[in-house]
Amino acid sequence: MSEIVLSLQKLHKRFGALQATNDVSLNLRPGEIHALIGPNGAGKSTLIGQIAGSLRPDEGRVYLADTDITHMSIAERARLGLGRSFQVSSLAEPLSVMRNVMMGVQALQSHSFRFWKPVARDQQLLKPAYEALERMQLSHRAWTPVFELSHGERRQVEVACALALKPRALLLDEPMAGLGPEGSAKLTELLEALKLEVPILLIEHDMEAVFRLADRISVLVAGSVIAHGDSHAIKQDPRVREAYLGDSDA
C-alpha cells in the first residue's frame, strides 16, 4: 500500500442516466507515468474531477498514499500534494505568470490570513515559484501577464503551478492538446524528466506522446476501464483496437 501514491477504488459517478464513471479502480506508483486514454466522452475528465475534488463520486474511495481524500475539498487535496492541470487551461489571466505560480507556494507555507507583509518582495514566495518556472523552462516569462502567453506556454504555467505545491502526484488533462508537433515534443521531454520525481496520471490524445511516455496505460470507454497494460500490450489488445484505435490500421 505504501508503495502506491494514488489509488482509486471502485469509483462510480452518474450524471442522470449517464454512467460517466463505472467501477473504476486504478493506481499510480512512484516514478511512473500512467496514461489514461479513451475516446471523447469516455469520462476521463470526470475521473480527474473526482480525484482532484471538483466532483464527488457516488461510490468508491480515493486515497493519496494512505490518506483517504474522498471527502476533502479541492484546496485540502492540493495542500496534501495533488497537483492538477485542466483540459481547458484555468489561470488568473490578468496576473503575471509569477503571481499564478506563487499562490501554490503560499498555500504550502502557511494559511493565507497574513495581512501585512507585501508579497512582491517576499523571497520566501518568489524563490520557490521561480524554481518551479525554471523547471518548466518558463522563467523568462515570469513577469508576463498570462493573457499574453501562447496556448502552449499556458499549459506549461499550469504544470508549474502544480509543481509549486511540491506535489506527490500530478493529474494532467490533455496537456498536449492544441500544441502542435513542436510544442508537444517539448512538453513530452519536460514530462519525461519530471516523472522521476513526481508520478503523473496523464490523459492524452496524442498517441505518439502516450506510447513514448507511459509506463502503463489504462483505456477508458463509456466510463469503464476496458484494458490495462504497458504500451506493447495495449497496442496489441483487440478490444482497444476496436473501441479506440480503430481497426483500419490492423
Partner: protein, 351 residues
Amino acid sequence: MINTTPLSKNAAPATHAESHFDRKGLVQMILLGLLLLLPVAAYFLGHTYYVNLASRVTIIAMAAVGLNLAIGYGGMVSFGHAAYFGLGGYVAGISAYHAFDMTPFMSWPFSVPGSDSLLVVWLAAVVLCALLALAIGAISLRTTGVYFIMITLAFAQMIYYFANSWPTYGGQDGLPIYIRNTLPQVGNNLLDSSDALTYFLICFTGLMLAMALTSRLMKSRFGAALTMARLNDVRLATAGVSPYPIRLVAFVISAAITGLAGALYADLNGFVSPSMLSWHFSGELMVIVILGGVGRLYGPLAGAVLFVMMETFLGGITEYWQLFLGLVLLGVVLFAKHGVMGWLAGSERNE
C-alpha cells in the same frame, strides 16, 4: 537572464510603468490636496457649511472604500452595505442617547451603559458591524452572481424594516444625537469634536487609514488570495487555498470600514434614521464605486466627490439632478471602464 534571477517586479521592464505612475500619483495628490485644503480655507473664511460638506464627502468616500474592498477587490457585489453604514450610525446614536439619558442600553445578562466617547462608539461600531457581516456573509457567500446581490439586499432590507418599526429609538422618525460624541481631552480643547474643522480632520484621518489599510492588505498574501478568488476561484482552490474563508474575511473587513463611516456620519449630522439603512443608500454607494473606478484605491474618493458635488450643486438647481447623474454614469460605463480614476490616471497594470 542566466545570472540574474528576476525575483522582483523591478526586474520587469518598467519604463512605461514609471511615467504612468507619475500621472497617477499626481492625480491622487491633487485630489487629496483639494480635499484637505478647501475645507481648511472655507473654515478660516467662516463658511462652516462647506467644511461640513467636505466631511460628508470624506465619510461617504470612506463608506465606499469599504464597499470597494468587497466589490472591486473581492468581486463580491454587495447590494446591502447600507446595513453596516446604518448599524454604525445607530451605534453612535443609541450610545449617545443612553449616555444623555444616563440609562443602560441593556441590563441583563450584564449591564451595558451608553457612552458619549467617540473611541468607544467607533470600537463598538466596528465590532458589531464585523459580527453582522460575519453572519450575513457566511450565508450570502454560499451563493454567487445575482443571487448574492439579492440576498445581501434582502438582509439589509430586513434590518431596515426592523429599525423602522422599533419605537424605542425613534422608529421611522429616527434618533437625534443632541451632543456630538467626544474625544478624550488632551490638555486644552485641542480635540474638540464639535468644532467643524476638527471633525473634518478626524474624518479625513479615518478615510486615509481606511485607504492605507486597503492598499496594504491588497499587497499582502491575503490580498493575493483575494485577488485570485475574484479572478478565478477554481485556480485559487487548485493552488491549495479555499476561496470561501478568504472572501468571508474580506467581506467582514469591508463591512467594518463602512460601519465606521456610518458612525462618523451620524455624529456629523447629529441624527440617525432608517434612511441610512435603506437600499437607496446601498445603491448610491455602488454608483459611487462604479463612478470612481471599481477596484481602484482612489476610486471611491473620486466617485464620492463627484456624487456629492452633483447632489449638492445640481440638486440645488433642479430636483431632477439624478437625471444628470444617470447621464454621467452612462458615460462612465460606456466610455471610461475604469471610472473617473481610470480616465484621469490611466489604466492600472497588474503585475
